[in-house]
């Protein structure tokens, strides 16, 4: 029972309280770049959930069963990045062959997140905080859900902002960053949850 409680707390803290983009600044590039429309943002979010959950599972297994027994934990950065890059390529090929419908909705986003810093970041944080495999997967899932929530909200706001009359220098990126800053303040409110 206690374990379930731990996992639930981890789920909330990774997805809302310490949101991956708004408080840890990982995965900023897709957050700012692919958030023009809500449906593209949702597609990106789904692909990120898929890849990060899978990558944290694979990285966790590799760390426990290959790196630790051989005593080469210090090679984690190199191993993780190569495994994640290969994994995404493999997933892309697998989906295209086996589940074409899913590939069509996620496919275009997959290559984009090959080496998104959030993917590597989650794998490294799992090791740093000694989460183990199950907790690592939950952490990966929660982090990516947090990413998806943030990117969909941002896309919704950006769609509304499009028709506003903004001073010339603030058009584009500055407005998006200000919006993200205000969202970050709002997400600070979640820290009272735990």
């Amino acid at each position: 029972m206690n374990e379930m409680k731990d996992l639930l707390i981890l789920l909330i803290s990774s997805s809302l309280v310490s949101n991956v983009v708004l408080s840890q600044f990982l995965g900023l590039c897709p957050f700012l770049g692919v958030s023009k429309k809500t449906n593209t943002a949702a597609g990106m979010g789904a692909a990120v959930i898929f890849v990060i959950t899978l990558a944290s599972a694979v990285a966790g297994l590799m760390y426990k069963f290959i790196l630790v027994p051989l005593g080469i934990e210090y090679l984690q950065t190199i191993c993780f990045i190569l495994v994640i890059a290969a994994l995404v390529q493999f997933v892309e090929m697998f989906l295209r062959k086996v589940i074409p419908s899913l590939y069509e909705s996620l496919g275009v986003y997959l290559p984009l997140i090959t080496t998104n810093c959030a993917v590597l970041g989650v794998a490294l944080v799992n090791v740093q905080k000694e989460y183990g495999i199950i907790k690592g997967i939950v952490n990966g899932f929660a982090t990516s859900v947090g990413f998806t929530i943030a990117i969909i909200i941002l896309a919704g706001i950006r769609e509304k902002l499009e028709y506003n009359d903004i001073p010339e220098p603030f058009k584009g990126m500055p407005t998006v960053l200000l919006t993200a800053g205000l969202m970050a303040i709002a997400f600070c409110g979640f820290s009272g949850l735990l």
């Binding site: 990982l26 593209t40 090679l75 190199i78 986003y109 990126m173 960053l177």
Partner: protein, 240 residues
């Protein structure tokens, strides 16, 4: 200055194509570690070391690495140097290592490093890329230190841990927290846009001025994260 000379490369990295202020690359670490000037400086110098060494090695190996697998090869080289630097920091500067945390191994996916490898080091003999790396790295360090100093000044009234503001100044705490990073960067990009618009009116070449990464932190060319795989605007054009 002659092109590709050491001095020209240093000038290019520090001012003309400053990776943060002009090209807008590597935004994730820029936002995350600039809570104080000293953290910004530490991160900048760490990145500079990795950048200079990986540029040198990639340039030395440019005839050995086949073009088809160059990206994975670059990543392995960069990741090796990051690991070396991380172990050195753990041994000799543990306080900095703790302050920067997970962002040190994440130097691997910093756009600037792969961008320079791809656009400069892979096609030039070793000496200019070494200085290119040093120049770009110093440019990055200067930028991070400046942003860190501004945030620290507004957020705590100190710079490099020394009291600068008078006692009557009330620190605006939010600037050292996450939202402050976004606000500082927003102001920075607005200034950049302003200069770009002004420059364009005078007929200056502003094409080098980037506006941040677009998709993927790692897959970038010289102009930020290039749209190598997927053209986000293509979809919009189709819809129009």
């Amino acid at each position: 200055m002659t092109k590709n000379s050491a001095g020209e490369r240093l000038y290019n990295g520090l001012l003309k194509e400053n990776p943060t202020f002009v090209l807008m690359l590597g935004m994730c670490p820029t936002l995350a570690v600039t809570t104080s000037a000293i953290n910004g400086l530490g991160m900048g110098l760490t990145t500079a070391v990795v950048l200079a060494l990986s540029n040198l090695i990639i340039s030395l190996l440019r005839k050995v690495i086949p073009a088809k697998v160059r990206i994975p090869a670059f990543i392995v080289i960069i990741a090796s140097f990051v690991t070396v630097v991380q172990l050195l920091l753990q041994a000799y500067l543990p306080s900095l290592n703790d302050a920067l945390g997970v962002y040190i191994p994440l130097i691997v996916v910093n756009c600037i490093i792969l961008g320079r490898a791809e656009s400069y080091a892979y096609s030039n003999p070793p000496i200019p890329p070494l200085f290119d790396g040093i120049g770009m790295g110093l440019g990055f360090s200067v930028a991070l230190t400046c942003i860190g100093a501004v945030r620290e000044l507004l957020g705590t009234g100190k710079v490099f841990d020394m009291q600068v503001m008078p006692d009557s100044f009330t620190p605006i705490g939010i600037f050292v927290l996450a939202p402050g990073a976004f606000f500082v960067l927003a102001a920075l990009t607005a200034i950049q846009n302003y200069l770009k618009i002004k420059g364009a009116k005078k007929g200056k070449d502003t094409s080098k001025i980037g506006s941040g990464c677009s998709h993927d932190c790692l897959n970038c060319g010289e102009k930020g994260c290039a749209e190598r795989f997927y053209d986000a605007n293509a979809e919009e054009r189709k819809e129009d």
